[in-house]
Amino acid sequence: MPSMETYKKLHNGTIGQEHKRLSDKIMDTTFWTDINSRVGYLYDYYHDDHITQLNDLDSPNDPKKISIDIKFLMNTSQTYGNDQSTFHLQMRPGQECNVDYYDEFFGSRYNSTFPIGLYCDIPDEQGKYNRWLIVDKANYNVTQFPTFEILRCDYVLYYIDDHRRKRQIAVVLQSQSSYNSGIWSDHVTTIVEDQQKFAAPLNRDTEKFYYNQRLIIDNKVLTEPRLWQISKINRVAPNGIARITLAQTKFDGDKDYVKIENDEVIEMYADYYVGNTEPTDFVETDKIRAEITYPGKPTIRVGSGYKKLAVNFYQGESEIPLMNGQWQYFIGNEDVSSLIAYSTVDLEENEVKIKFNSKDINYGGKTLTIKYVVDTDIQASIDLNLANL
């Protein structure tokens, strides 16, 4: 009879470790005998050609999506999302990260564990691929095999990013415990006071969500839309997911925008108009683009006071050197360059200080459009409110 030492040499570990090894082997060998086994498709926000599509995706024919063997398990022992039954995703034992950009986009940046933060397209009983978000580890339930919490993406969020571009992202809406009636009345007024929450993959865009950022989150109904502002930003628990809490706020017809065509809501953006400026479309290309920035509010005083402007150039998300161009100034279609006083003293070559050199108070309330034009393809434009401050 072999000694314990001999047994350990033969099997390279303890009996428990041997059991684990055998279990893994059985799980791996019998993986496809389980009715819950499926092929899922992993990808992130930046490797997705259908960012607004939640269901019925053509994942197997999408070259950007990476296949992975999974088991799709319903978990009823607890509900992670408070309001929907959660499902678990189980991978093969010893499954390595097979998404080559995961470490760059998630692992090293957010200290997250593969595959948390990725979307996974999982076929339903009819074989239709639906979008799920992998939100956390689920090892508290099954320690034997790696499993993860997944939530079905059920909403496309429309928002304006920090470069004033229109963006969309698929998220998971979650209810938020709210110990109030949804309204707040003081002795004079009554205001809305509900709460809401959503989970989104953490990435270079969603990490820029900021306090008080306003969002329209509603069904595409034709009545007045529901406005929310971000009141809590959780980027660390779990790593790789942004969990955003929202407080209800009020719709502002001057700033917020609901696009309706043929009695159908097409898109909904809060803070669409800021300083009379409309956001631009987001185009994800390596095309060179220019951007004008300024400190403080989007206003310039009629008659006095300088405003410093800076123009920067980007290719993709990388900044590139200044390109020679010309500053131009308009109110509507009228060229008002003659009313602009310049200064470039002690400034960088991409900067200019301007002053609206008119005493005519009728310019107050109008919009000054400032352009930096390199050629017809490359130009930047911003609008500043002229104010009789």
Binding site: K297, K308, G364
Partner: protein, 187 residues
């Protein structure tokens, strides 16, 4: 309803006429505060300093013509707010009122000390405002500091309140259209 340039002029006119002490005085205070580079420096808005911003960029960022801040403050930021009010008339003389100009200096306690001097930031800004306004006649008559109190608005913000007072005419004239003023006889 049409809105003409003439209508706009009518509203702008309130900046100049004497009916509304609130608007007139706030215009003067705004210009004075924004012209005081020491106050703007001690407000320590590193973001605007980094951008080499102009004084007017501090308006509605750190210098506010009202005493309410509803934005969620996620960064260390200081404020000077100002308000105008009056409640009392001068005793035995209904033609005069005691107009008060109140500065609320709100300093985040994470950056409570001005490092160049070691002086508490709310005290230093209060001293600069006192230096700029006390015993001056920017508003037409001499103003005097009558109250200087300190406190805390919450766990994060230190408050110093400076109240200046001036004795001015009480509703003696009324502005008609575009400066056709009428003398108002008090009953």
């Amino acid at each position: 309803m049409t809105w003409t340039d003439e209508d706009k002029q009518r509203l702008l006119h309130f900046k100049e006429i004497v009916d509304s002490d609130d608007i007139k005085c706030k215009e003067i205070i705004k210009k004075l505060l924004l012209s005081n580079k020491y106050i703007l420096h001690v407000l320590n808005n590193t973001e605007l300093e980094k951008e080499d911003a102009e004084p007017e960029d501090y308006y509605l960022e750190n210098v506010l013509p009202y005493y309410v801040i509803t934005e969620t403050l996620s960064d260390v930021k200081h404020f000077v707010c100002f308000e105008i009010s009056y409640r009392d008339l001068q005793r035995y003389d209904k033609t005069k009122k005691l107009l008060q100009i109140v500065f609320y200096i709100l300093i985040n306690e994470h950056d409570a000390i001005e490092l160049d001097t070691g002086i508490a930031r709310h005290d230093l800004i209060a001293a600069l405002i006192q230096d700029q306004f006390n015993f001056t006649n920017y508003f037409g008559v001499k103003i005097e500091l009558v109250e200087d109190t300190a406190g805390a608005v919450d766990r994060d913000y230190i408050l110093r309140t400076l109240t200046f007072q001036q004795i001015v005419d009480n509703n003696l004239i009324k502005d008609g259209k575009y400066g056709n003023k009428e003398v108002h006889i008090l009953a």
